[in-house]
Amino acid sequence: MIIGIKDYLNEELKIILNNLNELFNKVWSTAKLRSYSEGDTSVLDELWKALVNFGLFEFFRDAKPRDAAILMEEVSSRLPPGIVITTIIGAVATGNELGDEKYEGKLKISISSTANMAPEAHRADVIVIGDNLIWKDDASVKPLNSFDNSMRWCQVNFRRSTKVGVNRDLVALLLSAAIVGTGKPPLELSVDYAKKRIAFGRPIGAFQAVKHKLVNMALNIELARSLYLRAADDLKLAPMALDYASRIIPNTIRDSIQVHGGIGFTDELDLHLYLRRSVTLSKVYSFNVDELWESYDKSRAREV
C-alpha cells in the first residue's frame, strides 16, 4: 500500500492482473479453500479449469522473471489450493524434462527441497524433490495432517526417479513473491478494520500503537516486495529475498491478527489462513546459511 508495483505495471500486465482478479472473484473464495482443506477436490477442479482457460500457466512459458514474480504475488494473494502454486513454480524452474504439458495445465507438479517430504504431492502427477523427478506411479504418497491443509505436506517414498535440472534461484524468486502475496490481504483487512472499529470513542486506527503497527506492516510488505523485484534482475539475490520474506511476512500477518484483537483469533475470520499459507510457503525450499552467503558473494561479484 506504499507504492505497490505501480513502477513496473505496464498496460499489458495491468490487464492480465485485472482479468485474473475477476476470474478469482468469480470462481474462488476462502469458503471454497476451506472445503478444499477438508478434502473437497471439486473446487480445485473448477478453479483449475478456469485458470487453464484463462491461460495462466501458459503466461509463465515466456514471462520475464520480474513479470512472473509479480503475477505469482497476485495469484498467491488469492489463496488458491497449494498445488496451483507448486505447479507454476515446478513448470518455471525446470527445463525441458516435463515437456510442453507443464504450461498447458495438463500436469500438476509438486516441488520441494526436503527429502521425502513434498507439499500437495497427493494431488500431483509429478513430484520434484531436489533434483529427483518422480512420476506419480513411482511413488507412494501419504498426505499428512498439516498446519495448512490447503497445502498439505505429504510423506513421499519413491521407487524410481530421473534427474532434473532445477533453477533454484527461480524457485526462490517465485516463492518469495508468493509469500509477499499472502501478506497483502491481511494488511488491507487490517487497515479497513482500524478505520471502522471504535474503542474509547474513536476508530482504533487513530491510536499510535495501532497506526504505527499498520505502517510497519505496509513497509514490511513493500520491503519484501522490493527485494524480490531486485532479485528478479539479479537472480543470485533470490535466496536472500526468500529468506527475508520468510522471516518478515508471516510476522506481519501475525500483526494483522493483533490489530483485530479477540476477533482476529477466531476461525470466523480468514487471517489465520493467510498465516498458515505464508509459513508453509516458507518451508517449500530451504537454503542453508552457507548457500545464502555463497549466493550473495556471486551477486556481489557482478557489482562494483
Binding site: S146, A199, V210, Q258, F265, T266, D267, L271, V279, S282
Partner: protein, 377 residues
Amino acid sequence: MSESELERFRDYVKDWFIKNAPPEMRIRRGGIGWYYEDPRFIDAAVRWHRTLYNAGLVGISWPKEYGGYGDDVRKELVVRDVALSLGIVYPGCPGIGLSVAGPAILFHGSEEQKRRYLRRILTCEDVWAQGFSEPCCGSDLAAITTKAEDRGDYFVLNGRKVWSSDFHLANYYLVLARTGSPEERHKGLTMFIVDTRSEGITYRPIKQINGRPGFSEVFLDNVKVPKDNVVGKVGDGWRVAMTTLNFERLNIGGAFAYAAASAARHLVEVRRDADTLALLEEALAVKELYDRMLMLALRGEMVGPEAASIKLLASEVLEKIYIAAVSKLGPEALAEGDLFEWSFGYIDSKGYTILSGTSEILRNLLGELVLGLPKGV
C-alpha cells in the same frame, strides 16, 4: 522455611511428580500445558488436579479455613517450577477458578462466599468462567452495556458477553454488568456470580484459529441473580474487576513465564545459536521477574497494576520462542509428527498477546498507572 528446607521440598516434589504424573499429563515439547483445552484431556486433567490437591500440591498458600494448606507461598513457586521443568501439567482444572475467581472472592467476597466457593475451586468441583468483555468492547471495558437491574430481591441481567473461555465447561460465571448509567463508565459497574445453569443463559462456542472451541459468546436474557451473589458492593465492580484482572494477569503471566522458560529450554536443545540464546535469557529474566513480583504481591496481599507487566512480557517472549522454533525447523514442524506441537504453539501463542488485555492496552496501563504518564488519548 529455610533455603535448605525448600531445597529438600523441591527434591520431594520432583520425585513425587516423576512417580505420579500420568502419561497424558506430560506436556510435549513446546507445549504450554493447557491440555484441558483439548476436549480429549479434560477428564484426565480434572482427575490430575484432584490428585495434586489431595497430595497437598494445590492451594498451598490459601487459608486453611477455605480448604487451602496455609503454608509458605514459596512452596507454590517450587511446585510450579518443578512441574514445568519436568513438562507436567500443573494444575489441571479448566477455567479461571484458581487464577481469577478465587482471588476475587478472597479479596472482595463476603465470608459466606468464601466458605461456599473457595474450597470447591481448589478441588475442581466447580469450574469457573469469566464474563467481562462484550462485542462492543473488548479493550474498552468501562464501556460495557450488559445491564443489571435491581428488582428488590434479585438482579436481572441482560446483555451479551464474548471471549468467555471454557464457558462450555463452567458451572459458575463471574459477570461484570452495568448497574448505573453508561455515562458513569467504570463507576456504574457491579460484579456478579452467576450460575451458568440459570434460566435465560445461552451460548455459542466460537472456534479459535487453533482449531479449538476455547471461548464462547454468551447471551444473558433476563437472567435472575440473587443479591447475595454480588461480589464486593454494588457500583464497586470496576475495582473488583481490576484486582481480578491484576490477579488474572499475574497468574496467566506466570503460566506463560514458566512455559516460556520451559519452551526456551526445549528450543535450545533443538538449536543453539545467538537467537535462541537471546530468547533463553529473556525467558529466564521474565520468569525471575514473575517470581519476584509474586513474592512481593504475597507480602502485601494485593497485586497492583504492575502485574500486567508479567502477562505482557511472558506472552511476548513465548510468542517469539514459537516463532523462532517454527522458523528454524523444516517442514517437519508443519505436519503431524514429533515436531508438530511447535506449530500448535505458533498459532496458539498469537492469542496470548491478545487475551486478558492486549499488549497495547497493557502498555497504556503500565505507562499511566506505574510510570505516572498522562492519560492517553
